[in-house]
Symmetry: C2
Subunit: 119 residues, 2 copies
């Protein structure tokens, strides 16, 4: 039920490498990956799940509102994350030169069916 | 020496609320803030310093390249962060509807004099 949304997110964005629907506990519900040499993208998502949990807690403590999106840019990749509800988020990994704007749009568009599937 | 860059970043971007030059230890070197009711933006930066340190470590462990930028969107604010070197970063807090693209540009532009000042 989630596979189709994750596949669309990865394949419709230039430079899309992988998307994962994951809980803040770092456990993936579903994922769609293209193979990337030398990098385990599931592991990347697990690491960032821990970070995201901290950002979420920080936002709550600081009363800066609910966390919606996080974008991480490194010299090799862009990681875009959108929160779905209190327990789950979806993360998209792009090539460094991938289309971040299109990626954000696809995460927003597919967050609707993904969120519905989580109910 | 850093005040002028931080002032320019905050004042040249629509919706700019505050900018801080900070170490990963959460200690601010310099800052420029507009007053925002009910929110201590220095505290926000300190909280995010801890998070950023984790992202930086995760990126190194995962060999996903050096961390360059992090964008955090909550229901109330946008926080844009740019790394300067191994010890320092600059963070810009914007209103939710602020111009994120302009903010990213200003952080990139001012990262040059800020980095030089840190040498």
């Amino acid at each position: 039920m989630f596979a189709e949304s994750l596949r669309k997110i990865v394949e419709e964005v230039p430079g899309g490498l992988g998307a994962v629907l994951m809980g803040y506990d770092g456990i993936a519900v579903d994922q769609h990956f293209r193979s990337v040499d030398g990098i385990d993208l599931t592991l990347v998502a697990v690491e960032y799940a821990a970070v995201l949990k901290e950002i979420k807690n920080a936002a709550q403590i600081l009363r800066t509102g609910e966390l919606e999106e996080v974008t991480i840019v490194t010299t090799c990749f862009n990681v875009l994350i959108r929160t779905l509800n209190d327990d789950y988020f979806v993360a998209l990994t792009l090539e460094r030169e991938g289309n971040t704007g299109k990626g954000r749009f696809l995460l927003l568009r597919e967050s609707v069916p993904l969120r519905e599937g989580l109910l």
